[in-house]
């Protein structure tokens, strides 16, 4: 397959556009996604190609547009809903949690809701407390949803294709700071299985499971630690529901040490779930050190850039955690 380097943002747009060219049932709806191109410019140019029927600019009505996507999905369309900021899922929560997630089960296995809710998450833009959160653990808690957090341009294109092909509601978290990162991405459409982790770097001394932007911070830390003679394996789950337990467990069995890193507030975060899952698994017997969780501090994301950085794990935090963990023999 021919590849070229494109950004994460371009990869999202390309995945949607390719799908919309070949499937009339796919359309996108959201606030300011028309000529404006969306809050982050992801849909720029799409209304020109696909027209206002299939790139539907909506009023600022998160509950209604989420529900409209669900109702359309239930009746045969395959909508992509763009929420401007993932924080706004609070306003669409009833529809996603009480309707989308539960419809099929409540109906005894009848009806399906093939929709993707795409939304940018994370801090680092100075947008402060109401536009910077990482709330994926909320959604991961709800049976009936799938939750995806791609960390690279390559992954985002393949996972979005898989999400659009999925017959279930998928919450698709894009990280704002990753939009401008680039990777080699095939031109042709391709699919990455939802529920399959990716070992982003192989190592033997410690397993670092990192999500979204933390994958890049973990890789940066791993490169530095290599110079200290510490071999770090970095696993990107890519999808937290379903979670690829096997890849994580196998890695911990190999390294005997586990650190979980995410941007979301540590308390109640997905890191606790991953740590518990490993502690309950056969990998427990292989652990040589206590499991560590790194996550956001228990505060709203502050405005000041220094405070903002201090609110979430940074490379030095990962370095310190790894050094401490490998001390256990």
């Amino acid at each position: 397959m021919a590849t070229r380097e494109i950004t994460y943002l371009e990869a999202v747009r390309e995945a949607m556009s390719q799908e919309m060219r070949q499937n009339e049932d796919v359309f996108i709806l959201g606030e300011d996604i028309g000529v404006y191109g969306g809050a982050f410019g992801v849909t720029r140019g799409m209304i020109e190609e696909f027209g206002p029927e299939r790139v539907r600019n909506t009023p600022i009505s998160e509950a209604a547009i989420a529900g409209a996507a669900i109702g359309a999905a239930l009746t045969g369309m395959r909508p992509i809903l763009e929420l401007q900021f993932s924080d706004f899922i609070t306003i669409a929560m009833d529809q996603m949690v009480n309707q989308a997630a539960k419809t099929r089960y409540m109906f005894g296995g009848k009806g399906k809701v093939p929709m993707v809710l795409r939304t940018p998450a994370g801090s680092g833009t100075g947008a402060a407390a109401q536009h910077s959160q990482s709330l994926e653990a909320w959604m991961a808690h709800i049976p009936g949803l799938k939750v995806v957090q791609p960390s690279t341009a390559y992954d985002v294109k393949g996972l979005l294709k898989a999400a659009m092909d999925d017959d279930n509601p998928v919450i698709f978290y894009e990280h704002k700071l990753l939009y401008k990162t680039s990777a080699e991405v095939p031109e042709e459409p391709y699919s990455i299985e939802i529920g399959k982790a990716d070992i982003k770097r192989e190592g033997t001394d410690v397993t670092v499971v990192a999500t979204a932007i933390m994958v890049h911070k973990a890789l940066e830390a791993a490169a530095q630690l290599e110079k200290e003679g510490i071999s770090v394996e970095v696993i990107d789950p890519r999808t937290i529901v379903p979670l690829d337990k096997e890849t994580i467990i196998d890695s911990v069995k190999k390294t005997g040490r586990l650190i979980v890193v995410h941007e979301a507030v540590r308390r109640g975060g997905i890191g606790g779930e991953i740590a518990s899952m490993v502690a309950e698994s056969e990998a427990f017997d292989y652990l040589d050190a206590p499991i560590k969780r790194l996550g956001g501090k228990e505060v709203p994301i502050p405005y000041n850039p220094n405070l903002e950085k201090a609110a979430i794990p940074q490379v030095p935090d990962i370095l310190a955690a790894v050094r401490e963990t490998v001390k256990y023999k």
């Binding site: 049932d25 359309f27 029927e53 539907r56 909506t58 009023p59 009505s61 509950a63 209604a64 547009i65 989420a66 529900g67 409209a68 996507a69 669900i70 109702g71 359309a72 999905a73 239930l74 009746t75 045969g76 369309m77 909508p79 009833d94 529809q95 009480n98 309707q99 419809t103 099929r104 089960y105 409540m106 109906f107 005894g108 296995g109 009848k110 009806g111 399906k112 809701v113 093939p114 049976p143 009936g144 799938k146 017959d167 279930n168």
Partner: protein, 327 residues
């Protein structure tokens, strides 16, 4: 032959008789459910539409098989009117595997997607956005169906009502919003909870027609909904219709009804929509007393059969617990 009033063209004499029977089917269904709850034979909770049969039967009478409905927690009547199978409904309330939802949904989640019933809903106002989405499919796929979206007076104070009506309006979607104003939420009177005379007046705020109808008058209901359905089908967008009605029973099973008087209840009971429809059919020469009795008895027999079906149906196996979540 009918003598005087004009009715929508699909409302034949045969259909009128069916509707009369259907109203009794709805009433007997919910009366039976009420009895079973009182005896502790059905668990969970339920919301009965006894007294509100006309708004379900009359509204759904004027749409076709391919049209869709979105229902509410008080939705047994809607389901029956939308070609629902009372056996599957009763079995669902009994939590049996033969129920509409294999015993996983219960009263508040009965749906019949194949028949165009997109489901009752346990969340007040939860169904309105879904109706908008279903109407969007109709428009985008040019399927030309119309969605009847039922909700209550309580839901009209939810944000989802306002967002949904606005969205349907700006996109000219084929949906008819039908507010069954039965005067109370759980206990909150519509007079205390809104400061307007008619919920239908809210249509003005969204640039669509709003109409108030007597929710116990089948003729007025059928004609008004038919007009709104035709408007929607012809691409002119949504309407809001408010049906003034009354639930005879409490909100759900544990309601002492302290928030209203027995006199008020008796006044509304005297206005019984079924009785009124029968008088209309008799005066139009469609039905005589004997035929009316036969239809009523047939409805009762159907419900008794539904109870037998439910009672004799198996419980779901525990193995089915994790099934049906993901497609």
């Amino acid at each position: 032959m009918m003598k005087t009033l004009k009715l929508p063209e699909m409302i034949t004499e045969e259909k009128l008789k069916d509707l009369y029977k259907q109203m009794w089917t709805i009433r007997y269904f919910d009366e039976k459910v009420d009895q079973f709850f009182a005896k502790g034979l059905i668990h969970g909770t339920t919301h009965l539409c006894v007294g509100q049969e006309a708004s379900a039967a009359g509204s759904i009478a004027v749409i076709g098989t391919k049209d869709k409905i979105v229902s509410t927690h008080r939705g047994h009547g809607h389901c029956i009117a939308k070609e629902g199978d009372v056996n599957k409904m009763m079995a669902e309330l009994f939590g049996r595997v033969t129920g509409y939802c294999k015993g996983k949904g219960g009263s508040m989640h009965i749906a019949d997607v194949e028949k165009g019933n997109l489901g009752a809903n346990g969340i007040v106002g939860g169904g309105l956005p879904l109706a908008v989405g279903a109407a969007l499919t109709s428009k985008m796929k040019k399927e030309n169906y119309v969605v009847l979206c039922f909700f209550g007076d309580g839901a009209s104070n939810e944000g989802s009502f306002h967002e949904s009506v606005n969205l349907a309006s700006i996109w000219d979607l084929p949906v008819v919003f039908i507010c069954e104003n039965n005067q109370y939420g759980m206990s909150g009177s519509v007079k205390e909870m809104t400061n307007i005379e008619n919920i239908a007046d809210r249509a003005d705020a969204y640039g669509i027609p709003g109409k108030v109808v007597d929710g116990l008058d089948m003729v007025e209901i059928m004609n008004t909904v038919d007009e709104a359905v035709q408007r929607a089908r012809n691409g002119f967008g949504p309407s809001l219709i408010e049906m003034k009605t009354y639930r005879w029973k409490g909100h759900s099973k544990s309601d002492a009804k302290k928030y209203r008087t027995r006199e008020e209840e008796n006044e509304w009971r005297a206005k019984d929509g079924i009785k009124r429809f029968k008088e209309f059919l008799k005066s139009e020469g469609v039905l005589n007393e004997e035929e009316a009795k036969q239809l009523q008895d047939a409805a009762l027999a159907e419900i008794e059969e539904a109870v037998r079906f439910a009672e004799n149906s198996p419980e779901p196996s525990i193995d089915s617990l994790l099934e049906d979540l993901y497609a």
